[in-house]
């Protein structure tokens, strides 16, 4: 993938800054996001990952700088996939209901879902292999299934850009594998996926590019180019330990999570 290929750029930002009062959450971030690529966003807690997602999703406005979506249709449809810990799982809705929520904008005010909306929901459920569980109340799903349900909702939204906050946190290895298989299929559909994560190992293995963030942008490139001892020390400071072993470098990080 070549970042200079203008036709493939989905999002262009330059000098993007967000300040909350006197606190700077993001400091002059500039990057291009390509159509269909999968990017891991890494950084310690408070590095501005959540803020970056909020700015991209349009939930908050940048204090300074420019954020522009490229392409003919203007602003793409953006889906935000929430962290599982932030969801009220006892809410009395079924899997089908939640995925249908993604259609709310397309259905329109004062209207009820039409055949096309139901079809989109069914297709999205089939895409993440949840057709059988469509009628279940959402607390009856496993962690992996819950995460897949939200991906289905993003698909029903017809999202071209998905922002996922710690989608793999607390999932077992087979469930994580299932999510990655779905992400591979999303790439074929040219859906751009931005994933906030704490897992350097997963980021190196499964993503096209890695964005290393600590208020300012410390690196945005292929994993092997970003994960250098100097850059990691820059991002994490004392919160990371780099240990040289016979088989290579060992990285020890704090095990913790942030959220929107």
């Amino acid at each position: 993938m070549n970042p200079s290929d203008k036709a493939d750029i989905l999002l262009h930002t330059s000098g993007l800054s967000v300040r909350y009062g006197r606190v700077t959450a993001l400091d002059a971030i500039s990057f291009d996001l390509l159509r269909g690529e999968r990017v891991a966003v890494l950084g310690p807690n408070g590095a501005g990952k959540s803020t970056l997602f909020k700015v991209i999703a349009g939930l908050i406005l940048p204090t300074a700088g420019d954020l522009r979506f490229m392409g003919a249709q203007g602003s793409p449809t953006i889906a935000y996939v929430p962290q599982r810990s932030g969801v009220d799982w006892s809410f009395p809705v079924t899997v089908f209901d939640v995925v249908m929520m993604g259609r709310t904008a397309q259905i329109g005010l004062f209207r009820r879902p039409k055949a096309r909306d139901r079809e989109m929901v069914q297709q999205s459920l089939a895409f993440v292999a949840l057709t059988e569980l469509a009628g279940r109340q959402i607390s009856e799903l496993s962690g992996g299934q819950q995460q897949r349900m939200f991906i289905a909702r993003a698909l029903a939204q017809e999202a071209q850009l998905m922002l996922m906050d710690e989608p793999l946190a607390g999932l077992d290895v087979p469930s994580q594998q299932g999510i990655y298989e779905i992400l591979d299929m999303l790439r074929e559909r040219q859906v751009t996926v931005l994933v906030a994560t704490h897992d350097l190992d997963q980021a190196a293995e499964h993503f096209d590019r890695v964005m290393l963030l600590n208020r300012s942008l410390l690196g945005f490139d292929r994993p092997e180019r970003v994960f250098t001892p100097a850059r990691l020390a820059d991002a994490y400071g004392s919160r990371i330990r780099l240990v040289e072993t016979a088989e290579g470098m060992l990285v020890l990080t704090e095990k913790n999570q942030g959220g929107l």
Partner: protein
């Protein structure tokens, strides 16, 4: 058989009883439908605060509006809407947490209302009617107000149902879908305010919260589908109104208290016996016997 029919039709000979029953059913349904969102969004404290905070408005309606149903209604509605906006402004300023903001406004307004009413000589009786309701005193024009405004509340909820569900379940989704989330949230607060004022004469300020949350909470225990929950809550609310009024008629109990007690009894039934979720569900006779033996150790020795 004749006795049963007499038992049911007897009170209907009094027009005030018929008006009271109609009012109780309407209020039961409107409160339950709005209450479903109150329960799901965890806004119980807001509902309780708002119903108490309209007291000064009622006092103005009482002291300067001659105490007619219309005067109480409009002054109550005005105060309720101003209060919900006030709470919104204070909590959005970010200086104070929302529940603290609610508490300050609620207690301050309630005190102001009591201070105003206490200047009148018939203080105790007047205050009691406002605090605990007087459903048997509902006038025909009062019924029309309940029907029109209650109907409008339900109509708006049905029209904006899917949007209200989205902002209740996942506000961030609402924002990314470009829904007017702040507008919808404020609208919901105004709907709650209207519902409270509409229901005022039935159960009064002090017991209002029960009509909003208890039927909805019972329904929540009985189903896992939102439309079903809403319909069940409405049914439970209406039933509580009717049974409560008969209880009040034959038992000589204050009508508002009787209605709320029926609501509470129905909730206890749901809590104990709800299929799959009730407290007694999954309790085998063996477990129950052990529990009983633990509670009354002396019984086992006899």
């Amino acid at each position: 058989m004749e006795q049963i029919i007499e038992f049911i039709t007897g009170p209907l000979a009094y027009p005030f009883m018929v008006r009271g029953l109609i009012a109780a059913v309407l209020v039961g349904v409107v409160c339950a439908v709005v209450g479903t969102f109150v329960v799901l969004r965890g806004m119980a404290f807001f509902g309780d605060a708002l119903s108490h905070a309209i007291l000064p408005g009622l006092a103005v309606g009482y002291l300067y509006g001659g105490g007619t149903t219309d005067a109480l209604f409009w002054w109550g509605l005005l105060t309720a809407i101003l209060t919900s906006i006030g709470i919104g402004v204070i909590s959005e300023s970010g200086e104070i947490k929302e529940d603290t903001a609610i508490g300050i406004v609620f207690a301050g307004m309630f005190a102001l209302g009591i201070a105003m009413i206490s200047t009148v000589r018939s203080y105790a009786v007047d205050l009691a009617h406002i605090l605990f309701g007087n459903v048997l005193g509902v006038s025909v024009s009062g019924l029309w107000l309940i029907t029109i405004f209650g109907g409008a509340v339900i109509l708006i909820i049905l029209l904006l149902y899917k949007e209200l569900v989205v902002i209740s379940f996942d506000p961030v989704l609402g924002a990314t879908l470009r829904l007017r989330t702040t507008l919808l949230h404020n609208l919901l607060m105004i709907l709650i305010a209207t519902t409270i004022v509409v229901s005022l004469q039935t159960v009064g300020v002090a017991l209002m919260l029960a009509m909003l949350i208890t039927p909805a909470a019972s329904a929540y225990l009985l189903t896992r589908r939102l439309p079903t929950m809403m319909a069940l809550a409405a049914l439970i609310g209406a039933l509580s109104g009717v049974v409560g009024l008969y209880l009040s008629y034959y038992g000589g109990i204050a009508s508002g208290a009787a209605i709320v007690l029926v609501c509470t009894a129905l909730f206890l039934l749901a809590f104990l016996f709800a299929p799959g979720r009730g407290w007694l569900w999954g309790m085998s006779w063996e477990k129950l016997r052990h529990a009983a033996l633990r509670s009354f150790p002396t019984a086992s020795r006899q």
